[in-house]
Structure formats: C-alpha cells, structure tokens
C-alpha cells in the first residue's frame, strides 16, 4: 500500500512540475539559450589549472647560448660544446675540437662543465683543455659563460690558463673534449 501511495504522489509532483515548465518556456527559447551558451563558452577562460610545471618537465629551460647553439660547425663560437669556452678555438688553429695543433702540448688540467647538445637533448661533461707551448693563435676568439663563476671559485672560472704541468705556460688555443654524459 505504501508503495502505491508513494508512486502516486511522485507521479502527481512530476506532472505538476512538467506542466509548469511547459507553460513557462518555449522550445525555441531553450534552443536559443543553449546555442548562446555554446557560442559564448570559448570567450571565458578555462579553469585555472597550473600547467607551468608540466611544461617545464617536458621542455628544459634553455640559456641564451643553448637557444642559438648548433651541432654542425665546430669552427664557430655557437657550436654546442663551446657553452663556456674562453679563448681561441683549436679547430681554427690547425687542431680540432679535441686535439691540439702540432707543436703544442695539451694541458693536464682543464675547465670542466656541462653543455647541452640540442641534437640529442642530452647534457655532456666537456673539458676545455688548453693547448700550450707557443704564443696565442688569436683565431676564432670566443667567450661563452654558461656555468662559469668568478675567480673566487677558480675551478669554475673559465678565464684561467690551464697550462699547469706542461713545459710552458704559454697559451695557444682551447679544445672542448667530451668526457661523458652527465647524470
């Protein structure tokens, strides 16, 4: 009995509600409002979700040097391995990116830093070993400073001549030898 009574009561309420809605609205009115809502939706901003972290996770923040770095010509200052080189490029002085010109001696000490390779998007440890023993080559002088620090952190300063331990402290040019991949 109770079930029958409840069913009738609900039926009555819903009928009353539907009739009131039908008398107060028109089909065209509903359509126009829905259409207006659809058209206006893009004009309002979406929910304020912070996407900055997701973006940072996929794209590393690049330095000015990294934005302009290239991987094809190691005789130009913007070659990716030269991110913190200060001096003449041995590639322009008869040597190579990791070899000294004939008649010069590679330094045993060096400036070590990390450079980002845009081709494979990995960071590599690069050692800027100086070639020593003859006067400066003076070709292709570059001064990039990604990660370089002032002389109060001498091991991270790229203005130092690293010819310690060689027979002469005379600086000729700098190489950019690849040490390995930085983890």
């Amino acid at each position: 009995m109770a079930q029958k009574f409840d069913g009738r009561l609900f039926e009555g309420w819903s009928e009353k509600l539907t009739r009131r809605l039908a008398s107060g609205t028109s089909r065209r009115g509903v359509l126009s409002r829905v259409g207006l809502a659809l058209a206006a939706a893009p004009a309002f901003p979406l929910l304020p979700i912070d996407r900055s972290r997701a973006h940072a996770a996929t794209t590393p923040r690049l330095t000015e040097f990294q934005k302009n770095a290239q991987v094809t010509d190691d005789t130009r200052c913007n070659y990716w391995r030269y991110c913190a080189i200060d001096g003449s490029l041995c590639s322009c002085c008869g040597g190579g990116v990791h070899s000294c010109p004939p008649g010069t001696q590679p330094s045993l000490t060096s400036w070590v830093g990390t450079c980002y390779n845009p081709a494979d998007k990995r960071s590599y440890l690069i050692a800027y070993r100086d070639c020593c023993g003859t006067s400066s080559c003076r070709q292709c002088h570059c001064d990039n400073t990604d990660g370089a620090l002032p002389t109060y952190r001498p091991q991270a300063n790229n203005e130092i001549i690293w010819c310690f331990g060689t027979s002469s402290m005379a600086y000729h040019c700098s190489t950019a030898a690849l040490v390995g991949v930085a983890e």
Partner: protein, 174 residues
C-alpha cells in the same frame, strides 16, 4: 684504393672540384666525427659527475694530474684514510668542505675518490664517509696550521705508519 686517385689524375678539374667540396664540407665532416664520439660517450653516475664538475678540472677527469702541481688521486688518495691523522687532513681540505654540494652528495664524491678512483691498500679497511661526518667536518673551524704543512705531516705519517708510497711526496706546492 687506386681508382679514385687515377680519376683525379685524369680529370684535374674534377679533382679541384672535389677539393673545393672538401673545404666546404670540412667543418661539417669534423662535426659529424664529433657526433660519433658523442654516441659512444660513457654515462657517469651522480657521484662521478660531481667529481668531474667539482674536482676533475684540476685533479684530472681520470684522476691523473701533473703530480708536482696537483696531488695525484688515482690509486693514491685512498692511502689518506689509513690513519686518523690522514683522514683528518681530508676532512679539513677547504675546497672539499666548501664544495657547493649537499652533505650526502659530498659524502658520495669522497667515497668515489677514496674507495674507487684512489682505491689502494690503505683504504681497504677504512669506513666510508657519511653525510653525518661531512656535516661535522663542515661545522668544525678551519685549522690555523697552513694547509701545505698539514699535508706534509699527514703524508709523512701515512708513509711511516701505513707503508704508503713515497710518491705521495711528489706534490711540491709553490
């Protein structure tokens, strides 16, 4: 091997053109060689990478340095922890304590230098460095004894007590 040379001999203009092409392509070819080196590059773990960045410039990426100018680490650094005085010398090295690394990361670098790169009979029974030890050595005031003298005393002692090699005395600071 002989065919291309014959071709250059017979057609000198072709040879000259090839030469010009080489000049134009040389930087690209060199950079391409570089990429081969990059593909074969070894990957270093966190402690090794920190060693390269914070120590490897002077001490050498392989731990080999000009021994008169910079103390040699490879196969030698481990001797320093065979004796408490030697270990205290390591704990008080200014460029170690002031390295821009966390206590845990610095402990990892010290363990790499002493027990892997500089592994020697002297380090065989020594305890590894911990973040706690690093924290304590950073909190301790720097010794007023000149660093060169501290090294000389520590090295002379480990040569006498542990039988460390006399080549540790090769370092002659100016």
């Amino acid at each position: 091997m002989t065919a291309p040379w014959r071709a250059v001999k017979r057609f000198p203009i072709a040879g000259m053109l090839a030469g010009l092409l080489c000049v134009a392509a040389c930087p690209v070819a060199r950079a391409a060689d570089n990429s081969v080196v990059e593909q074969r590059a070894v990957t270093f773990n966190h402690a090794q990478t920190n060693y390269m960045l914070h120590c490897g410039g002077c001490h050498g990426t392989l731990g080999l340095s000009p021994p008169h100018s910079v103390p040699l680490l490879r196969g030698q650094a481990g001797w320093l922890v065979c004796d408490p005085q030697g270990r205290a010398y390591v704990d008080g090295l200014p460029n170690v304590t002031r390295a821009s690394l966390s206590d845990a990361d610095l402990a990892d670098v010290l363990n790499f230098v002493i027990f892997t790169l500089g592994a020697s009979p002297g380090s065989a029974h020594a305890a590894p460095f911990t973040a706690r030890e690093v924290s304590a050595m950073r909190a301790a005031p720097e010794s007023t004894v000149p660093l060169h003298l501290r090294r000389q005393q520590a090295v002379e002692r480990i040569i006498k007590v542990c039988g460390a090699p006399k080549s540790l005395l090769d370092y002659k600071p100016m």
